[in-house]
């Protein structure tokens, strides 16, 4: 490969930021001045190039977070160091909404205007910010769901050179940026309150939330932490996989796929190098359950990953977390360090397990939650999903057999190992086993993450969240997220199990239960959902790239003055997106919309 770079040089600060993630510069810019005219690097075979390509996103992220944007000089420096063609690096940088390739002020506020936030003041908040006019040191942008719907409205703040932060429960009348551009940090809390059920005796997966100090390994150990790993090592890897099989644990990330099938396939693979990925991208609008686990029980995520890695024979795991979760990121990083220092994580641990974890931050792309897009993102490519087959268990991260599981899925493994798979399977129904987290938001009195046993009904969950506020009647529920579907109150009796949902023609998705009352402007909600998919499609395949635009346009017509044929057009587009798109985003992009139209929610 013969690469050519422009002359642009990084500033000292940019150089330092890059160095902090990829190590000292290897390309000596003093002895061989690399200029546009003379620079020709010949990389020895693709391998040496591929070796460091995976550092591209971390390097971009480092510059973004230290400097506030990625200049041409910084981009070229990264490209030279990692031997990445500049056009490709540009393609990667411009894929992510949290990376700016244009000069940016040091503080950028991403204000959520998604389904829940827009109903509790986000629009008012944005009008206020708009009225501020241009402010010198800050800028604000609208953002898709930030995973804080239980504490809406919310905003995520990027600060150059400082920790980023999240503002929640913002009072829309007191703007988070003053007219002089200063950030009113006091507006909105930052630390999450524990889940509403915290401390209740029946909890399994949430039992440490709010009761065990998430910053302290000692506290975790005192609460029985790392006993599951000990037991796993006693049993041996094959027995762990067998317990997971006996548990019939199904994926909590949305597709409800049996975990053991993936584990067994990778455990039995002839390929010695394997990977485990914990999918913590959690960007499905309305979903925030994994955040609660990661913020308030981070060690269990780390322990569960270690057990899983041990069981499938992976020595390395990646934890891919969405960029907009700074608190969870800090707590997980600290947990990883503490576990390493205590000999519970790393090349050789005191249990004899060899497994380490690399935490990677997403940079604002819902599609990177799709498993193969996530792998491409880690590899330093654009977050475009891959065509399947081959499946990740055969050819996943870096082309190696890979198990990828959701945070909640993995956290269940602790109890499966500790109490046995059949014990776990005795909870819930035969096809939907164990405890399950649901994310309650919208028109309920106590929004939050709730744990129930599979089998609880939709009505039970709404009840758990305190029912609807005074004077509000339930009009509809968005079940499963923006990729899920609307259902009417006549389904309140439906048990929330995979099989019951599937029989009713709906999906539990990522566990979203969003309640809407009689005052809801469904036209506005649907327009937002359509816009979301259009913004978040990777744009790779035609049915989804253009189909999401055409759906949005048809919906705009329907809202203004419905023409005969527009409804049918949406059905036709949906059919093509479901049939011909590459990935689940295209397959599900019009489902919620169609369900709402069919249920007459727009009338």
């Amino acid at each position: 490969m013969d690469l050519r770079f422009t002359d642009a040089q990084p500033t000292a600060a940019e150089r330092e930021a890059v160095e902090s993630v990829i190590g000292p510069a290897r390309v000596d810019s003093h002895q061989r001045v690399r200029t546009a005219s003379n620079l020709r690097i010949f990389a020895k075979g693709m391998q040496s190039v591929a070796d460091r390509r995976h550092l591209l996103l971390p390097a971009l992220e480092a510059v973004q977070s230290e400097i506030g944007w990625v200049s041409e000089g910084a981009l070229m420096h990264i490209c030279r160091e990692l031997s990445v063609p500049p056009a490709e690096a540009w393609g990667v940088a411009t894929f992510y909404s949290l990376i700016s390739v244009d000069p940016s002020p040091p503080v950028v506020l991403h204000v959520c205007d998604d389904i829940v936030c827009r109903r509790v003041g986000a629009l008012e908040l944005m009008e206020g910010l708009e009225a501020n006019g241009q402010t010198p040191n800050t800028r604000w942008l609208p953002s898709p769901c930030l995973g804080q719907c239980d504490r809406a409205p919310a905003a995520y703040i990027q600060r150059a050179g400082e920790d980023d932060q999240v503002l929640v429960s913002i009072d829309p009348r007191t703007r988070p940026i003053g007219p002089d551009g200063s950030v009113v940090a006091a507006n909105g809390q930052q630390e999450s309150p524990a889940a509403p059920q915290a401390g209740q005796a029946h909890l399994r997966i949430l039992r440490r939330v709010g009761t065990v100090n998430p910053r302290s390994l000692d506290s975790y150990l005192a609460a029985g932490g790392y006993r599951a790993l000990e037991e796993a090592v006693e049993m041996g890897p094959a027995a762990v996989v067998a317990e997971v099989k006996a548990s019939n644990l199904r994926g909590r990330g949305g597709a409800a796929f049996p975990a053991w099938i993936k584990w067994e396939a990778v455990a039995n693979s002839p390929e010695p190098v394997r990977y485990l990925i914990c999918n913590a991208d959690e960007s499905e609008p309305g979903t925030f359950k994994d955040r609660v686990l990661m913020e308030d029980d981070p060690f269990s995520v780390i322990e569960a990953m270690t057990i899983s890695g041990y069981a499938i024979g992976a020595r390395k795991g990646y934890l891919y977390i969405r960029g907009e979760y700074p608190l969870a990121t800090r707590r997980l990083r600290s947990a990883i360090h503490q576990a390493r220092d205590a000999g519970l994580l790393g090349e050789s641990t005191r249990n004899g397990v060899s497994f380490d974890i690399d935490l990677r931050r997403g940079q604002g792309a819902y599609i990177c939650g799709e498993e193969t897009a996530l792998m491409n993102s880690i590899e330093g490519l654009r977050g475009e999903p891959r065509n399947k087959p081959p499946f990740p268990t055969v050819s996943g991260l870096f082309g190696k057999p890979t198990v990828i599981n959701n945070v909640e899925t993995l956290c269940n493994v602790l109890d499966i190992v500790a109490d046995g798979g059949s014990n776990f399977a005795s909870v819930g129904t035969p096809q939907s086993t164990g405890p399950k987290l649901f994310c309650l938001s919208g028109s309920v009195r106590r929004p939050g993450t709730y744990e129930v046993e599979f089998g609880a009904t939709l009505g039970d969950l709404i009840e758990l969240a305190g029912g609807l506020p005074e004077g509000r009647r339930l009009r509809a529920i968005l079940l499963g997220g923006a990729a899920g579907s609307f259902v009417l109150p006549d389904l309140l009796e439906m048990p929330l199990t995979f099989e019951a949902a599937s029989e009713a023609g709906v999906s539990l998705g990522s566990g979203v239960i969003m309640a809407f009352d009689q005052h809801t402007d469904f036209g506005d909600i649907l327009a937002r959902i359509a816009a979301f998919f259009r913004d978040e499609t990777c744009g790779q395949c035609v049915p989804c790239r253009v189909g999401t635009v055409r759906v949005e346009e048809a919906l705009a017509r329907i809202r203004r003055d419905p023409q005969p044929g527009d409804l049918e057009l949406i059905e036709e587009i949906d059919l093509a997106m479901r049939d011909a798109s590459i990935c689940g985003l295209g397959h599900t992009a019009a489902i919620a919309l169609r369900s709402a139209l069919e249920l007459g929610l727009l009338e």
């Binding site: 013969d2 056009a87 035609v542 049915p543 790239r545 253009v546 346009e553 048809a554």
Partner: protein, 331 residues
């Protein structure tokens, strides 16, 4: 190295396509299987000489027991597969894909088959409404992923924009780009190894771009023109062709193609010289040629002026227009 013959591994895979049995070599794609039996499957992003990216989805077929349709160009044939290439579902998806492209991209210079498929699948791109206004030069190239502007549904949003004319050899008219990734692959991993262009941005704003959207000559491009050679829509075009089209003098019927061997070096690349009124108006190389697979270098592709530098002796009606192609910026 020769592989020992093994009798255990099957030498063929049997499947059924549209009710007829067919045997193909292991690892053959469904597209190869279809072609082997003479069944036509439309393709846009697929080319024999490039790695399949399976993004256009026009080649989808129905395979029994698969929830969704599958791309024939990249799905490997499996023993016992039952494939339908012309079912209602297949026809519907192909029709919609053609409509999506036709309503967002200028297909007027695309390969002839595209028009034929439009008729065959009764695609009606016009039903999405009139085309949105073209965007200003450079605007799409700087779009940030995330929230987009107001949508009213009165027009069908497209990718129309001014043509990028930043050099004397070829132009990039991304109003015609269907984002098939062929040029990216030809420039990068599959042929040229230059990596001058890549896909940038996200979603409907995804586009082919150089780094920082630089003019071609300021980036890594070596002007081999291999991207032009693979572009199915005329988005990438010889400057000479573009100028002639602008002057309404481009006339394929009046053109002839002469096959010859490039005289610059000893590799022996075959050239196809397309001439109109005794002037070379573009150069291609046969895709099935062993040496080139359709790819050339800057000399073979663009270094033909010496052939027709005849001064005043021989004048051609298109000389004036071709002279315009030598000016850096368009008039």
């Amino acid at each position: 190295m020769t592989q020992p013959e093994t009798t255990e591994t099957a030498n063929t895979v049997s499947l059924t396509i549209d009710g007829s049995p067919v045997e193909v070599r292991p690892d053959a794609t469904l597209l190869e299987a279809c072609r082997q039996m003479g069944t036509e499957v439309p393709t846009l992003c697929y080319l024999e000489t490039l790695t399949p990216v399976n993004v256009c989805r026009i080649c989808v077929v129905e395979v029994e027991r698969n929830r969704t349709l599958v791309p024939a160009c990249s799905r490997i044939a499996e023993e016992g597969m039952v494939v339908k290439t012309d079912s209602e579902r297949v026809r519907h998806s192909r029709k919609m894909i053609l409509e999506f492209l036709g309503s967002s991209v200028d297909l007027s210079a695309a390969e002839d088959e595209v028009g034929e498929w439009m008729e065959q699948y009764q695609a009606d791109p016009a039903r999405y409404g009139p085309q949105s206004e073209p965007t200003a030069a450079g605007e799409r190239g700087r779009r940030h992923p995330g929230h987009h502007g107001e949508v009213n549904g009165r027009t069908a949003e497209g990718v129309h924009q001014p043509t990028k004319v930043d050099n004397t050899l070829y132009v990039r008219d991304y109003s015609r780009c269907i984002l098939c990734y062929k040029c990216v692959e030809a420039c990068g991993i599959d042929a040229q190894g230059t990596y001058a262009i890549a896909v940038a941005g996200r979603g409907f704003d995804a586009r082919i771009s150089t780094e920082m959207d630089l003019p071609l000559g300021d980036g890594a491009c070596v002007f081999c023109g291999n991207c032009i050679g693979v572009c199915p829509t005329g988005a990438l075009m010889f400057r000479s062709e573009w100028e002639l089209r602008r002057a309404e003098l481009w006339d394929p019927d009046a053109q002839s193609v002469t096959r010859t061997v490039c005289s610059y070096c000893g590799v022996g690349c075959n050239l196809e010289l397309h001439t109109q009124d005794n002037r070379i108006v573009k150069v291609t190389s046969p895709q099935d040629h062993d040496v080139t697979s359709g790819h050339l270098c800057i000399k073979g592709r663009f270094g033909y002026d010496y052939v027709q530098n005849l001064g005043d002796v021989d004048r051609s009606s298109i000389d004036e227009v071709l002279a315009a192609a030598r000016r850096p910026a368009p008039e």
